[in-house]
């Protein structure tokens, strides 16, 4: 068996091993879970090291000043390891503070414009007169939903006055419609991923056609051993 064929066999095995979890938790699904965590962590580290090397070669090795800064950054990166020491835990706080500080600064820059000002501006800019009735209706619905949903999450004032009740009720209804549609969209996204895996197992192009050959045999082995093991355990009792 060539290496490429063995690769396809591995792909078929791991795909089916994940789906055996639908039957119940079993050794195959556990193998898939643990291998995934291990491989994903290894991939992350490899990606990290590659990025570091590219940074050094492409940017930080050009001048002496930059090289010193790069080495300093690496030394600070080592301080993350003091996370595991109770005594020297304070050293771990230094890279953490640098990272949190920078990301808070970046978030404050982007959040103010992208998430607050831009969203408020695009809602306020919606027209309800001088355009076709259907667009005007949609714009009006959008504005009312945005205002009511924001009002629903306003906790700085006590919502005791009579007008809050219909506002909150409408906001709840709108949110339920929104969450329902988000749910429907998520289900279909996952389903399309599942269809992708089925296409792989059936060897439909651009997937390797050899998968179709391995699929029934691997499925039979997994199913047979799982059912056989269950039967053995039952009769042993």
């Amino acid at each position: 068996m060539s290496v490429e064929l063995f690769g396809v066999l591995l792909g078929v095995f791991f795909t089916l091993a994940v789906y055996t979890f639908l039957y119940r938790e079993n050794p195959y699904s556990r193998i898939a879970e643990y291998v995934f965590i291990g491989a994903a962590t290894g991939y992350g580290i490899a990606y990290d090291l590659d990025w570091l090397k590219n940074q050094w070669v492409g940017t930080w090795s050009k001048t002496m000043e930059d090289s010193i800064l790069f080495v300093l950054a690496l030394l600070l990166a080592v301080l993350w390891y003091f996370r595991f020491s109770k005594r020297y835990f304070f050293l771990y706080r230094i890279p953490l503070a640098i990272t949190v500080g920078t990301y808070i600064g970046l978030a404050l820059r982007s959040v103010v414009f992208a998430q607050v000002i831009e969203q408020v501006r695009s809602t306020a800019a919606l027209k309800v007169v001088g355009i076709d009735p259907w667009t005007a209706f949609n714009n009006l619905v959008t504005m009312i939903i945005v205002v009511c949903t924001l009002a629903y999450f306003t906790f700085t004032v006590r919502q005791e006055a009579a007008f809050w009740k219909p506002v909150n009720k409408f906001a709840r209804y709108a949110m339920m419609i929104g969450f329902g549609s988000a749910y429907g969209y998520t289900v279909l996204t996952r389903m399309s991923l599942f269809i992708g895996r089925v296409q792989f197992l059936l060897g439909i192009p651009p997937n390797p056609p050899e998968a179709k050959m391995f699929f029934p045999w691997v499925a039979l082995v997994l199913l047979g051993t799982l059912l056989g093991y269950d039967y053995y355990k039952k009769t042993k009792k």
């Binding site: 962590t41 996370r83 890279p95 970046l106 339920m176």
Partner: protein
């Protein structure tokens, strides 16, 4: 040493690094300051790469004792460690040794192990959210009914069979997704943005210290 242990030092570092990003963005300080600002972001990224290696150490601290003491499921832990080191070693950035992200063996394990596993694990959620919906989506109140109806419409809108059987569902599904769903998301985004701003200001003022907790 006791001075270094003081929590005010990391708080001061946080404030300085946050202000480096915030001030030049709102006040025009010239291209030299902006270039320094970008450099600080890239420098911070180098510092933060160490955090992933901490993740590796955490995993080793959990799984190595499991293997050495032959605890329950130790065999799976051994598999995890083996694959973690395998992917790390074959991904080391030495292309002259046929290693690295573009190397043959790294691509082999990426395409035949990591990709099938991640795609299958994400896809298996389809079954669980569907079964959870079957249990949770019961039209006991008007809110629950609206959730159920809009969810069903969007599922039918995106499934080929739904639009084949009821062609009008496409327009209705699009309207729900583009108008009420977008408006709710916009409101939540504004609320989340305001929350993030408040959190950022609290960190800048040194009131938020939760992230520094731990140690002696």
């Amino acid at each position: 040493m006791s001075l270094l242990r003081r929590v005010e030092i990391p708080i001061a570092i946080t404030i300085i690094f946050a202000l480096i990003q915030v001030i030049p963005y709102f006040v025009n300080m010239g291209p030299a300051v902006e270039a320094t600002q970008d450099k600080v972001v890239r420098w911070t990224l180098i510092v933060s790469t160490g955090a992933l290696l901490v993740g590796l150490t955490s995993l080793l601290l959990i799984h190595v004792p499991r293997v050495t003491r032959r605890r329950t499921h130790w065999e799976y832990s051994l598999l995890l460690i083996a694959f973690m080191f395998l992917m790390t070693i074959i991904g080391l950035p030495f292309p002259e040794l046929n290693l690295g992200l573009t190397g043959y063996w790294f691509s082999f394990f990426y395409n035949n192990v990591l990709t099938p596993l991640s795609a299958s694990l994400y896809a298996i959620l389809a079954f669980y959210i569907t079964s959870a919906a079957y249990r949770a989506f019961k039209a006991r109140s008007l809110e629950a009914a609206l959730l159920l109806i809009s969810g069903t419409i969007l599922v039918l809108r995106n499934a080929p069979l739904g639009t084949f059987l009821i062609p009008q569902i496409a327009d209705l599904g699009d309207w729900i997704f583009n108008i009420p769903n977008m408006a709710v998301n916009r409101a939540i985004m504004i609320g989340g943005g305001l929350g993030a701003m408040v959190l950022g200001i609290r960190v800048l003022l040194g009131y938020e210290r939760g992230y520094l907790r731990g140690g002696e």
